[in-house]
Symmetry: C2
Subunit: 305 residues, 2 copies
Protein backbone atom coordinates (compact mmCIF):
# COMPACT_ATOMS: atom_id res chain seq x y z
CA UNK A 1 0.00 0.00 0.00
CA UNK A 2 1.49 3.35 -1.02
CA UNK A 3 -1.61 5.52 -0.70
CA UNK A 4 -4.51 5.74 1.72
CA UNK A 5 -7.46 8.08 2.15
CA UNK A 6 -9.08 8.73 5.50
CA UNK A 7 -12.01 10.77 6.77
CA UNK A 8 -10.98 13.01 9.66
CA UNK A 9 -13.97 14.34 11.57
CA UNK A 10 -14.78 17.66 13.15
CA UNK A 11 -14.63 17.73 16.93
CA UNK A 12 -16.21 19.75 19.70
CA UNK A 13 -13.89 20.67 22.55
CA UNK A 14 -14.64 22.18 25.99
CA UNK A 15 -18.23 20.84 25.84
CA UNK A 16 -19.45 23.64 28.13
CA UNK A 17 -18.19 22.17 31.40
CA UNK A 18 -14.89 20.61 30.35
CA UNK A 19 -12.81 23.64 29.42
CA UNK A 20 -9.39 22.52 28.18
CA UNK A 21 -9.95 18.85 29.00
CA UNK A 22 -13.03 17.39 27.28
CA UNK A 23 -14.02 16.85 23.66
CA UNK A 24 -16.05 14.65 21.35
CA UNK A 25 -15.96 13.67 17.70
CA UNK A 26 -18.69 14.27 15.12
CA UNK A 27 -19.55 12.18 12.06
CA UNK A 28 -20.06 15.39 10.05
CA UNK A 29 -18.44 17.50 8.76
CA UNK A 30 -15.16 15.73 7.95
CA UNK A 31 -12.04 16.35 5.89
CA UNK A 32 -10.79 13.85 3.32
CA UNK A 33 -7.09 13.31 3.70
CA UNK A 34 -5.07 11.26 1.21
CA UNK A 35 -1.49 10.41 2.05
CA UNK A 36 0.92 8.73 -0.36
CA UNK A 37 4.51 7.65 0.01
CA UNK A 38 7.02 9.63 -2.03
CA UNK A 39 10.70 8.86 -2.55
CA UNK A 40 12.01 12.21 -1.39
CA UNK A 41 12.41 12.56 2.37
CA UNK A 42 10.05 15.53 2.67
CA UNK A 43 6.40 16.46 3.02
CA UNK A 44 4.46 17.84 0.06
CA UNK A 45 1.05 19.38 0.70
CA UNK A 46 -1.82 19.83 -1.72
CA UNK A 47 -4.99 21.62 -0.61
CA UNK A 48 -8.34 21.41 -2.37
CA UNK A 49 -10.16 24.41 -0.98
CA UNK A 50 -10.42 28.19 -1.10
CA UNK A 51 -8.99 28.81 2.34
CA UNK A 52 -5.52 29.82 1.25
CA UNK A 53 -3.85 27.62 3.86
CA UNK A 54 -0.04 27.52 3.87
CA UNK A 55 1.59 24.64 1.98
CA UNK A 56 5.12 24.96 3.38
CA UNK A 57 5.37 21.92 5.66
CA UNK A 58 6.74 23.88 8.61
CA UNK A 59 3.83 26.36 8.39
CA UNK A 60 1.15 23.72 7.92
CA UNK A 61 -0.50 21.78 10.74
CA UNK A 62 -0.46 18.49 8.83
CA UNK A 63 3.08 19.27 7.67
CA UNK A 64 4.60 19.66 11.13
CA UNK A 65 2.83 16.55 12.40
CA UNK A 66 3.96 14.46 9.43
CA UNK A 67 7.52 15.79 9.64
CA UNK A 68 7.64 14.72 13.29
CA UNK A 69 6.27 11.30 12.38
CA UNK A 70 8.96 10.86 9.70
CA UNK A 71 11.64 11.82 12.20
CA UNK A 72 10.30 9.67 15.05
CA UNK A 73 9.89 6.62 12.81
CA UNK A 74 13.29 7.30 11.20
CA UNK A 75 11.81 6.98 7.71
CA UNK A 76 13.95 7.42 4.64
CA UNK A 77 10.99 8.35 2.46
CA UNK A 78 8.48 11.18 2.70
CA UNK A 79 4.78 11.78 2.14
CA UNK A 80 2.53 13.71 -0.14
CA UNK A 81 -0.68 14.76 1.56
CA UNK A 82 -3.76 15.92 -0.28
CA UNK A 83 -6.48 17.49 1.83
CA UNK A 84 -10.05 18.16 0.76
CA UNK A 85 -11.05 20.54 3.48
CA UNK A 86 -14.73 20.57 4.36
CA UNK A 87 -14.22 21.89 7.88
CA UNK A 88 -13.77 25.61 7.61
CA UNK A 89 -10.65 26.91 9.41
CA UNK A 90 -11.48 29.07 12.42
CA UNK A 91 -14.96 27.63 12.81
CA UNK A 92 -14.30 26.20 16.28
CA UNK A 93 -14.92 22.55 15.46
CA UNK A 94 -11.35 21.30 15.24
CA UNK A 95 -10.44 22.13 11.65
CA UNK A 96 -6.71 22.10 12.35
CA UNK A 97 -6.81 18.85 14.28
CA UNK A 98 -8.76 17.13 11.49
CA UNK A 99 -5.90 17.98 9.11
CA UNK A 100 -3.10 16.89 11.41
CA UNK A 101 -4.87 13.84 12.83
CA UNK A 102 -5.97 12.68 9.38
CA UNK A 103 -2.44 13.07 8.04
CA UNK A 104 -0.65 11.14 10.80
CA UNK A 105 -3.35 8.47 10.99
CA UNK A 106 -3.12 7.85 7.24
CA UNK A 107 0.68 7.89 7.21
CA UNK A 108 0.73 5.41 10.08
CA UNK A 109 -1.35 3.02 7.97
CA UNK A 110 1.26 3.24 5.22
CA UNK A 111 4.16 2.32 7.53
CA UNK A 112 2.57 -0.76 9.10
CA UNK A 113 0.64 0.79 12.00
CA UNK A 114 3.71 1.46 14.13
CA UNK A 115 2.13 4.14 16.34
CA UNK A 116 -0.56 3.86 18.98
CA UNK A 117 -3.51 6.25 19.14
CA UNK A 118 -1.74 7.90 22.05
CA UNK A 119 1.37 8.43 19.90
CA UNK A 120 -0.68 9.77 17.00
CA UNK A 121 -2.41 12.25 19.30
CA UNK A 122 0.98 13.50 20.50
CA UNK A 123 2.12 13.95 16.91
CA UNK A 124 -1.09 15.76 15.96
CA UNK A 125 -0.69 18.07 18.96
CA UNK A 126 2.33 19.59 17.22
CA UNK A 127 -0.11 20.82 14.60
CA UNK A 128 -2.37 22.21 17.33
CA UNK A 129 0.57 24.05 18.82
CA UNK A 130 1.34 25.61 15.44
CA UNK A 131 -2.29 26.60 14.89
CA UNK A 132 -3.10 28.04 18.30
CA UNK A 133 0.16 28.43 20.18
CA UNK A 134 -0.90 25.95 22.84
CA UNK A 135 -0.13 22.25 22.98
CA UNK A 136 -3.69 21.14 23.62
CA UNK A 137 -5.34 17.79 22.86
CA UNK A 138 -9.04 18.30 23.43
CA UNK A 139 -9.70 18.28 19.68
CA UNK A 140 -6.91 15.96 18.55
CA UNK A 141 -7.67 13.20 21.06
CA UNK A 142 -11.37 12.85 20.18
CA UNK A 143 -10.47 13.10 16.48
CA UNK A 144 -8.10 10.13 16.82
CA UNK A 145 -10.08 8.07 19.36
CA UNK A 146 -13.69 8.98 18.53
CA UNK A 147 -16.46 9.37 21.09
CA UNK A 148 -16.02 11.48 24.22
CA UNK A 149 -12.46 11.85 25.44
CA UNK A 150 -11.08 13.34 28.62
CA UNK A 151 -7.56 14.78 28.52
CA UNK A 152 -6.53 14.73 32.19
CA UNK A 153 -3.12 16.13 31.42
CA UNK A 154 -1.17 17.11 28.31
CA UNK A 155 2.26 16.74 29.90
CA UNK A 156 2.45 13.83 30.24
CA UNK A 157 -0.44 13.18 27.87
CA UNK A 158 -3.14 11.25 29.75
CA UNK A 159 -6.24 10.32 27.74
CA UNK A 160 -9.36 8.53 28.96
CA UNK A 161 -12.25 7.49 26.76
CA UNK A 162 -15.65 8.06 28.36
CA UNK A 163 -18.64 5.85 27.65
CA UNK A 164 -21.73 7.66 26.45
CA UNK A 165 -25.34 6.87 25.58
CA UNK A 166 -26.79 7.54 22.09
CA UNK A 167 -26.37 11.25 21.37
CA UNK A 168 -26.73 13.55 18.38
CA UNK A 169 -25.09 16.92 17.99
CA UNK A 170 -26.44 19.94 16.18
CA UNK A 171 -23.78 22.49 15.30
CA UNK A 172 -24.19 25.97 13.89
CA UNK A 173 -21.26 27.86 12.50
CA UNK A 174 -22.08 31.55 12.15
CA UNK A 175 -19.43 32.74 9.72
CA UNK A 176 -17.87 35.51 11.74
CA UNK A 177 -14.23 35.54 12.67
CA UNK A 178 -13.30 34.80 16.29
CA UNK A 179 -9.56 34.41 16.69
CA UNK A 180 -8.53 31.70 19.17
CA UNK A 181 -5.94 34.12 20.52
CA UNK A 182 -8.64 36.73 21.20
CA UNK A 183 -11.01 34.26 22.82
CA UNK A 184 -8.10 33.13 25.05
CA UNK A 185 -7.07 36.70 25.89
CA UNK A 186 -10.47 37.67 27.28
CA UNK A 187 -10.44 34.85 29.83
CA UNK A 188 -9.65 35.88 33.40
CA UNK A 189 -6.38 34.57 34.81
CA UNK A 190 -7.95 34.30 38.28
CA UNK A 191 -11.42 32.97 39.03
CA UNK A 192 -13.50 32.85 42.22
CA UNK A 193 -12.98 29.57 44.08
CA UNK A 194 -16.75 29.24 44.51
CA UNK A 195 -17.23 29.39 40.72
CA UNK A 196 -14.45 26.85 40.20
CA UNK A 197 -16.24 24.53 42.65
CA UNK A 198 -19.53 24.94 40.78
CA UNK A 199 -17.76 24.20 37.50
CA UNK A 200 -15.94 21.11 38.72
CA UNK A 201 -19.07 19.78 40.42
CA UNK A 202 -20.86 20.13 37.08
CA UNK A 203 -18.03 18.51 35.12
CA UNK A 204 -17.89 15.55 37.52
CA UNK A 205 -21.67 15.19 37.22
CA UNK A 206 -21.53 15.48 33.42
CA UNK A 207 -18.93 12.75 32.88
CA UNK A 208 -20.77 10.54 35.39
CA UNK A 209 -23.99 11.17 33.47
CA UNK A 210 -22.26 10.26 30.19
CA UNK A 211 -20.97 6.99 31.66
CA UNK A 212 -24.30 6.04 33.19
CA UNK A 213 -26.48 7.33 30.35
CA UNK A 214 -28.39 9.74 32.59
CA UNK A 215 -29.72 12.39 30.17
CA UNK A 216 -31.45 14.39 32.92
CA UNK A 217 -28.24 14.73 34.90
CA UNK A 218 -26.42 15.73 31.70
CA UNK A 219 -28.99 18.50 31.22
CA UNK A 220 -28.69 19.76 34.80
CA UNK A 221 -24.91 19.77 34.73
CA UNK A 222 -24.24 21.55 31.41
CA UNK A 223 -23.64 24.96 32.92
CA UNK A 224 -20.33 26.83 32.98
CA UNK A 225 -19.80 29.75 35.35
CA UNK A 226 -16.32 30.74 34.19
CA UNK A 227 -15.62 30.57 30.46
CA UNK A 228 -18.95 30.85 28.67
CA UNK A 229 -20.13 34.00 30.48
CA UNK A 230 -17.06 35.74 29.05
CA UNK A 231 -16.82 34.15 25.61
CA UNK A 232 -20.49 34.32 24.71
CA UNK A 233 -20.04 38.05 24.23
CA UNK A 234 -18.02 37.25 21.08
CA UNK A 235 -20.79 35.16 19.53
CA UNK A 236 -23.81 36.68 17.82
CA UNK A 237 -27.21 35.71 19.22
CA UNK A 238 -25.67 33.29 21.69
CA UNK A 239 -28.36 33.49 24.34
CA UNK A 240 -31.19 33.46 21.81
CA UNK A 241 -29.80 30.36 20.11
CA UNK A 242 -29.32 28.56 23.40
CA UNK A 243 -32.84 29.36 24.60
CA UNK A 244 -34.41 28.32 21.29
CA UNK A 245 -32.49 25.02 21.25
CA UNK A 246 -33.44 24.10 24.81
CA UNK A 247 -37.04 24.99 23.97
CA UNK A 248 -36.77 22.62 20.97
CA UNK A 249 -35.75 19.79 23.29
CA UNK A 250 -31.94 19.84 23.33
CA UNK A 251 -30.27 18.37 26.42
CA UNK A 252 -27.83 21.26 26.59
CA UNK A 253 -24.93 22.84 24.80
CA UNK A 254 -22.99 26.02 24.27
CA UNK A 255 -19.83 27.21 22.60
CA UNK A 256 -17.84 24.68 20.57
CA UNK A 257 -14.14 25.11 21.31
CA UNK A 258 -13.40 28.80 21.40
CA UNK A 259 -16.28 29.54 19.00
CA UNK A 260 -17.86 30.95 16.98
CA UNK A 261 -19.61 27.59 16.41
CA UNK A 262 -22.24 26.54 18.92
CA UNK A 263 -23.30 22.95 19.55
CA UNK A 264 -26.27 21.30 21.18
CA UNK A 265 -26.71 17.67 22.23
CA UNK A 266 -29.98 15.74 21.80
CA UNK A 267 -31.00 12.22 22.75
CA UNK A 268 -32.53 11.42 19.35
CA UNK A 269 -32.07 12.52 15.75
CA UNK A 270 -35.53 14.03 15.36
CA UNK A 271 -34.90 16.42 18.21
CA UNK A 272 -31.46 17.19 16.78
CA UNK A 273 -33.18 18.12 13.49
CA UNK A 274 -35.67 20.34 15.33
CA UNK A 275 -32.77 21.97 17.14
CA UNK A 276 -31.24 22.71 13.73
CA UNK A 277 -34.49 24.39 12.69
CA UNK A 278 -34.50 26.38 15.92
CA UNK A 279 -30.94 27.58 15.25
CA UNK A 280 -31.83 28.59 11.70
CA UNK A 281 -34.93 30.43 12.81
CA UNK A 282 -32.93 32.62 15.21
CA UNK A 283 -30.72 33.67 12.29
CA UNK A 284 -33.55 33.90 9.74
CA UNK A 285 -33.48 37.70 9.58
CA UNK A 286 -29.73 37.92 9.92
CA UNK A 287 -27.21 38.60 7.18
CA UNK A 288 -24.65 36.40 8.89
CA UNK A 289 -23.80 33.41 6.72
CA UNK A 290 -24.00 30.13 8.60
CA UNK A 291 -23.70 26.37 8.24
CA UNK A 292 -25.77 23.98 10.32
CA UNK A 293 -24.88 20.29 10.80
CA UNK A 294 -26.79 17.47 12.43
CA UNK A 295 -24.49 14.58 13.26
CA UNK A 296 -24.22 11.47 15.36
CA UNK A 297 -21.26 11.26 17.72
CA UNK A 298 -18.45 9.52 15.83
CA UNK A 299 -17.60 6.31 17.67
CA UNK A 300 -14.35 5.80 15.75
CA UNK A 301 -12.75 9.15 15.02
CA UNK A 302 -10.49 9.06 11.96
CA UNK A 303 -11.37 6.12 9.70
CA UNK A 304 -10.08 4.74 6.41
CA UNK A 305 -12.41 5.59 3.51
CA UNK B 1 -42.03 -0.05 66.78
CA UNK B 2 -41.29 2.79 69.19
CA UNK B 3 -37.50 2.54 69.32
CA UNK B 4 -34.76 1.86 66.78
CA UNK B 5 -30.97 1.84 66.89
CA UNK B 6 -28.84 2.60 63.85
CA UNK B 7 -25.15 2.73 63.08
CA UNK B 8 -24.17 6.02 61.45
CA UNK B 9 -20.76 5.85 59.81
CA UNK B 10 -17.90 8.27 59.54
CA UNK B 11 -17.45 9.86 56.11
CA UNK B 12 -14.59 11.36 54.14
CA UNK B 13 -15.45 14.51 52.22
CA UNK B 14 -13.47 16.41 49.56
CA UNK B 15 -11.51 13.24 48.68
CA UNK B 16 -8.53 15.34 47.51
CA UNK B 17 -9.96 16.32 44.12
CA UNK B 18 -13.64 16.85 44.95
CA UNK B 19 -13.53 19.86 47.23
CA UNK B 20 -17.06 20.70 48.42
CA UNK B 21 -18.75 18.12 46.17
CA UNK B 22 -17.47 14.57 46.75
CA UNK B 23 -17.52 12.20 49.72
CA UNK B 24 -17.60 8.56 50.71
CA UNK B 25 -18.78 6.53 53.68
CA UNK B 26 -16.63 4.30 55.90
CA UNK B 27 -17.65 1.15 57.76
CA UNK B 28 -15.57 2.29 60.75
CA UNK B 29 -15.75 4.25 62.97
CA UNK B 30 -19.50 4.71 63.48
CA UNK B 31 -21.85 6.24 66.02
CA UNK B 32 -24.70 4.28 67.58
CA UNK B 33 -27.87 6.31 67.53
CA UNK B 34 -31.04 5.14 69.29
CA UNK B 35 -34.24 7.08 68.69
CA UNK B 36 -37.48 6.44 70.58
CA UNK B 37 -40.89 8.02 70.31
CA UNK B 38 -41.93 10.15 73.29
CA UNK B 39 -45.35 11.64 73.95
CA UNK B 40 -44.17 15.21 74.33
CA UNK B 41 -43.72 17.14 71.10
CA UNK B 42 -40.04 17.89 71.65
CA UNK B 43 -36.58 16.45 71.19
CA UNK B 44 -34.65 15.09 74.16
CA UNK B 45 -30.94 14.33 73.72
CA UNK B 46 -28.76 11.96 75.72
CA UNK B 47 -25.04 11.70 74.94
CA UNK B 48 -22.79 8.84 76.01
CA UNK B 49 -19.35 10.35 75.62
CA UNK B 50 -16.87 12.76 77.16
CA UNK B 51 -17.13 15.38 74.44
CA UNK B 52 -19.37 17.79 76.33
CA UNK B 53 -21.65 18.27 73.33
CA UNK B 54 -24.69 20.53 73.82
CA UNK B 55 -27.99 18.79 74.64
CA UNK B 56 -30.34 21.71 73.99
CA UNK B 57 -32.08 20.61 70.75
CA UNK B 58 -31.55 23.97 69.02
CA UNK B 59 -27.81 23.81 69.76
CA UNK B 60 -27.39 20.17 68.82
CA UNK B 61 -26.89 18.91 65.25
CA UNK B 62 -29.20 15.92 65.76
CA UNK B 63 -31.64 18.17 67.60
CA UNK B 64 -32.11 20.69 64.79
CA UNK B 65 -32.44 17.93 62.20
CA UNK B 66 -35.02 16.04 64.26
CA UNK B 67 -36.96 19.21 65.07
CA UNK B 68 -37.19 19.95 61.35
CA UNK B 69 -38.32 16.38 60.67
CA UNK B 70 -41.07 16.70 63.32
CA UNK B 71 -42.25 19.95 61.77
CA UNK B 72 -42.09 18.73 58.15
CA UNK B 73 -43.94 15.50 58.95
CA UNK B 74 -46.41 17.42 61.15
CA UNK B 75 -45.93 14.96 64.03
CA UNK B 76 -47.79 15.40 67.30
CA UNK B 77 -45.20 13.40 69.24
CA UNK B 78 -41.48 13.93 69.77
CA UNK B 79 -38.28 11.88 69.98
CA UNK B 80 -35.67 10.96 72.51
CA UNK B 81 -32.27 10.40 70.91
CA UNK B 82 -29.43 8.61 72.63
CA UNK B 83 -26.05 8.86 70.92
CA UNK B 84 -23.01 6.72 71.67
CA UNK B 85 -20.40 8.84 69.97
CA UNK B 86 -17.38 6.95 68.66
CA UNK B 87 -16.50 9.53 66.03
CA UNK B 88 -14.61 12.30 67.76
CA UNK B 89 -16.01 15.78 67.05
CA UNK B 90 -13.62 17.93 65.04
CA UNK B 91 -11.73 14.94 63.64
CA UNK B 92 -12.64 15.69 60.02
CA UNK B 93 -14.50 12.46 59.29
CA UNK B 94 -18.07 13.69 59.49
CA UNK B 95 -18.78 13.45 63.21
CA UNK B 96 -21.61 15.97 63.08
CA UNK B 97 -23.25 14.39 60.04
CA UNK B 98 -23.16 10.94 61.68
CA UNK B 99 -25.21 12.36 64.56
CA UNK B 100 -27.73 14.20 62.43
CA UNK B 101 -28.01 11.53 59.71
CA UNK B 102 -28.32 8.74 62.28
CA UNK B 103 -31.04 10.64 64.12
CA UNK B 104 -33.23 11.46 61.10
CA UNK B 105 -32.70 8.03 59.53
CA UNK B 106 -33.80 6.29 62.75
CA UNK B 107 -36.75 8.63 63.31
CA UNK B 108 -37.90 8.03 59.73
CA UNK B 109 -38.02 4.30 60.46
CA UNK B 110 -40.32 4.98 63.42
CA UNK B 111 -42.82 6.99 61.34
CA UNK B 112 -43.23 4.49 58.52
CA UNK B 113 -40.39 5.50 56.18
CA UNK B 114 -42.07 8.66 54.92
CA UNK B 115 -38.91 10.41 53.74
CA UNK B 116 -36.59 9.59 50.85
CA UNK B 117 -32.81 9.52 51.21
CA UNK B 118 -32.78 12.86 49.43
CA UNK B 119 -35.20 14.30 52.03
CA UNK B 120 -33.18 12.86 54.92
CA UNK B 121 -30.00 14.41 53.54
CA UNK B 122 -31.71 17.80 53.38
CA UNK B 123 -32.84 17.45 57.00
CA UNK B 124 -29.36 16.38 58.12
CA UNK B 125 -27.85 19.38 56.32
CA UNK B 126 -29.53 21.60 58.91
CA UNK B 127 -27.23 19.97 61.45
CA UNK B 128 -24.25 20.60 59.17
CA UNK B 129 -25.21 24.23 58.91
CA UNK B 130 -25.34 24.49 62.69
CA UNK B 131 -21.98 22.77 63.08
CA UNK B 132 -19.99 24.57 60.41
CA UNK B 133 -22.03 27.55 59.30
CA UNK B 134 -22.35 26.21 55.76
CA UNK B 135 -25.19 24.15 54.34
CA UNK B 136 -22.99 21.45 52.83
CA UNK B 137 -23.85 17.84 52.01
CA UNK B 138 -20.57 16.15 51.17
CA UNK B 139 -20.58 14.30 54.50
CA UNK B 140 -24.34 13.96 55.03
CA UNK B 141 -25.07 12.55 51.56
CA UNK B 142 -22.51 9.71 51.72
CA UNK B 143 -23.57 9.01 55.33
CA UNK B 144 -27.19 8.52 54.20
CA UNK B 145 -26.53 6.87 50.81
CA UNK B 146 -23.29 4.98 51.43
CA UNK B 147 -20.54 4.54 48.85
CA UNK B 148 -19.15 7.47 46.87
CA UNK B 149 -21.54 10.36 46.40
CA UNK B 150 -21.26 13.47 44.25
CA UNK B 151 -23.15 16.56 45.38
CA UNK B 152 -23.48 18.57 42.16
CA UNK B 153 -25.39 21.32 43.87
CA UNK B 154 -26.76 22.01 47.35
CA UNK B 155 -29.45 24.46 46.22
CA UNK B 156 -31.32 22.66 44.81
CA UNK B 157 -29.79 19.55 46.34
CA UNK B 158 -28.57 17.29 43.51
CA UNK B 159 -27.01 13.98 44.55
CA UNK B 160 -25.49 11.30 42.32
CA UNK B 161 -24.18 7.97 43.55
CA UNK B 162 -20.95 6.91 41.83
CA UNK B 163 -20.07 3.27 41.22
CA UNK B 164 -16.71 2.17 42.58
CA UNK B 165 -14.47 -0.90 42.58
CA UNK B 166 -13.42 -2.65 45.83
CA UNK B 167 -11.60 -0.09 47.96
CA UNK B 168 -10.33 0.15 51.53
CA UNK B 169 -9.61 3.33 53.40
CA UNK B 170 -6.97 3.91 56.03
CA UNK B 171 -7.63 6.97 58.18
CA UNK B 172 -5.38 8.58 60.74
CA UNK B 173 -6.70 11.17 63.14
CA UNK B 174 -3.86 13.08 64.78
CA UNK B 175 -5.56 14.60 67.81
CA UNK B 176 -4.81 18.24 67.25
CA UNK B 177 -7.51 20.85 66.89
CA UNK B 178 -8.17 22.29 63.42
CA UNK B 179 -11.27 24.45 63.42
CA UNK B 180 -13.38 24.16 60.27
CA UNK B 181 -13.75 27.93 60.33
CA UNK B 182 -9.96 28.35 60.34
CA UNK B 183 -9.39 25.82 57.58
CA UNK B 184 -12.04 27.65 55.53
CA UNK B 185 -10.56 31.06 56.27
CA UNK B 186 -7.12 30.22 54.89
CA UNK B 187 -8.51 29.24 51.48
CA UNK B 188 -7.99 31.82 48.73
CA UNK B 189 -11.16 33.43 47.40
CA UNK B 190 -9.61 33.62 43.90
CA UNK B 191 -7.62 30.87 42.24
CA UNK B 192 -5.61 30.74 38.99
CA UNK B 193 -7.77 29.50 36.11
CA UNK B 194 -4.96 27.15 35.07
CA UNK B 195 -5.02 25.49 38.51
CA UNK B 196 -8.80 25.24 38.40
CA UNK B 197 -8.48 23.47 35.03
CA UNK B 198 -5.93 21.02 36.45
CA UNK B 199 -8.22 20.34 39.40
CA UNK B 200 -11.33 19.75 37.34
CA UNK B 201 -9.48 17.59 34.85
CA UNK B 202 -8.32 15.46 37.78
CA UNK B 203 -11.78 15.31 39.34
CA UNK B 204 -13.37 14.25 36.04
CA UNK B 205 -10.69 11.59 35.66
CA UNK B 206 -11.13 10.42 39.25
CA UNK B 207 -14.91 9.90 39.04
CA UNK B 208 -14.47 8.21 35.66
CA UNK B 209 -11.83 5.95 37.21
CA UNK B 210 -14.18 5.11 40.09
CA UNK B 211 -16.99 4.18 37.67
CA UNK B 212 -14.76 2.09 35.44
CA UNK B 213 -12.66 0.58 38.24
CA UNK B 214 -9.39 1.95 36.86
CA UNK B 215 -7.07 2.03 39.90
CA UNK B 216 -4.13 3.43 37.92
CA UNK B 217 -6.15 6.38 36.68
CA UNK B 218 -7.40 6.95 40.24
CA UNK B 219 -3.79 7.13 41.39
CA UNK B 220 -2.77 9.55 38.65
CA UNK B 221 -5.72 11.84 39.24
CA UNK B 222 -5.61 12.22 43.04
CA UNK B 223 -3.78 15.53 43.06
CA UNK B 224 -5.22 18.86 44.18
CA UNK B 225 -3.54 22.12 43.20
CA UNK B 226 -5.81 24.48 45.12
CA UNK B 227 -6.99 23.37 48.56
CA UNK B 228 -4.45 20.84 49.83
CA UNK B 229 -1.37 22.99 49.23
CA UNK B 230 -2.89 25.53 51.63
CA UNK B 231 -4.53 23.26 54.19
CA UNK B 232 -1.69 20.79 54.57
CA UNK B 233 0.18 23.47 56.51
CA UNK B 234 -2.33 22.94 59.35
CA UNK B 235 -1.65 19.21 59.59
CA UNK B 236 1.41 17.76 61.33
CA UNK B 237 3.66 15.55 59.23
CA UNK B 238 1.31 15.77 56.24
CA UNK B 239 3.91 15.25 53.53
CA UNK B 240 5.75 12.55 55.45
CA UNK B 241 2.53 10.61 56.00
CA UNK B 242 1.54 10.91 52.37
CA UNK B 243 4.92 9.78 51.09
CA UNK B 244 5.05 6.83 53.50
CA UNK B 245 1.55 5.69 52.53
CA UNK B 246 2.22 5.85 48.79
CA UNK B 247 5.46 3.95 49.42
CA UNK B 248 3.39 1.32 51.27
CA UNK B 249 1.19 0.86 48.21
CA UNK B 250 -1.75 3.24 48.70
CA UNK B 251 -3.53 4.42 45.55
CA UNK B 252 -3.64 7.97 46.85
CA UNK B 253 -5.20 10.17 49.48
CA UNK B 254 -4.85 13.33 51.46
CA UNK B 255 -6.83 15.45 53.88
CA UNK B 256 -10.20 14.13 55.04
CA UNK B 257 -12.73 16.96 55.02
CA UNK B 258 -11.04 20.01 56.47
CA UNK B 259 -8.68 17.86 58.55
CA UNK B 260 -6.85 17.09 60.71
CA UNK B 261 -7.60 13.48 59.70
CA UNK B 262 -5.84 12.10 56.65
CA UNK B 263 -7.13 9.22 54.55
CA UNK B 264 -5.59 6.87 52.01
CA UNK B 265 -7.30 4.48 49.59
CA UNK B 266 -5.99 1.00 48.79
CA UNK B 267 -7.20 -1.70 46.44
CA UNK B 268 -6.97 -4.50 49.02
CA UNK B 269 -7.16 -4.83 52.79
CA UNK B 270 -3.57 -6.05 53.25
CA UNK B 271 -2.22 -2.91 51.67
CA UNK B 272 -4.64 -0.83 53.74
CA UNK B 273 -3.18 -2.48 56.87
CA UNK B 274 0.36 -1.76 55.69
CA UNK B 275 -0.65 1.82 55.07
CA UNK B 276 -1.87 1.98 58.68
CA UNK B 277 1.54 0.75 59.84
CA UNK B 278 3.22 3.37 57.64
CA UNK B 279 1.06 6.11 59.20
CA UNK B 280 1.89 4.90 62.71
CA UNK B 281 5.58 4.73 61.96
CA UNK B 282 5.68 8.38 60.89
CA UNK B 283 4.19 9.35 64.27
CA UNK B 284 6.19 6.81 66.30
CA UNK B 285 8.43 9.42 67.91
CA UNK B 286 5.67 11.99 68.20
CA UNK B 287 3.73 12.95 71.30
CA UNK B 288 0.63 13.65 69.26
CA UNK B 289 -2.15 11.23 70.22
CA UNK B 290 -3.74 9.58 67.21
CA UNK B 291 -6.30 7.00 66.13
CA UNK B 292 -5.86 4.89 63.01
CA UNK B 293 -8.72 3.05 61.30
CA UNK B 294 -8.73 0.56 58.45
CA UNK B 295 -12.16 0.27 56.90
CA UNK B 296 -13.98 -0.92 53.82
CA UNK B 297 -16.11 1.64 52.00
CA UNK B 298 -19.60 1.42 53.44
CA UNK B 299 -21.97 0.41 50.64
CA UNK B 300 -25.09 1.31 52.65
CA UNK B 301 -24.40 4.32 54.84
CA UNK B 302 -26.65 4.46 57.90
CA UNK B 303 -28.08 1.00 58.72
CA UNK B 304 -30.38 -0.42 61.36
CA UNK B 305 -28.45 -2.38 63.99
Amino acid sequence: MTEVTVRAPATVSNVVVGFDCLGFALELPFDEVTVRIIDESRVRIIHHDDFDLPTEPEQNVAGVALSALIKTAELTHGFEVEITKNIMPGSGVGSSSASSCGAVFAANQLIGDRFTKHDLTELAMLGEQLASGSRHADNAAPCIYGGFVLVRSTDPLDITEIEHPPLWATVIHPQIEVKTSESRAILPSQVPLKDAVRNWSNLAAFVTALSSGDYDLMARSMEDFIVEPVRQTLIPKYEEVKAACLEAGAIGGGISGSGPSMFMLSDNINTADEVADAMESVFSNSEIERNVYVSAISRDGVTIM
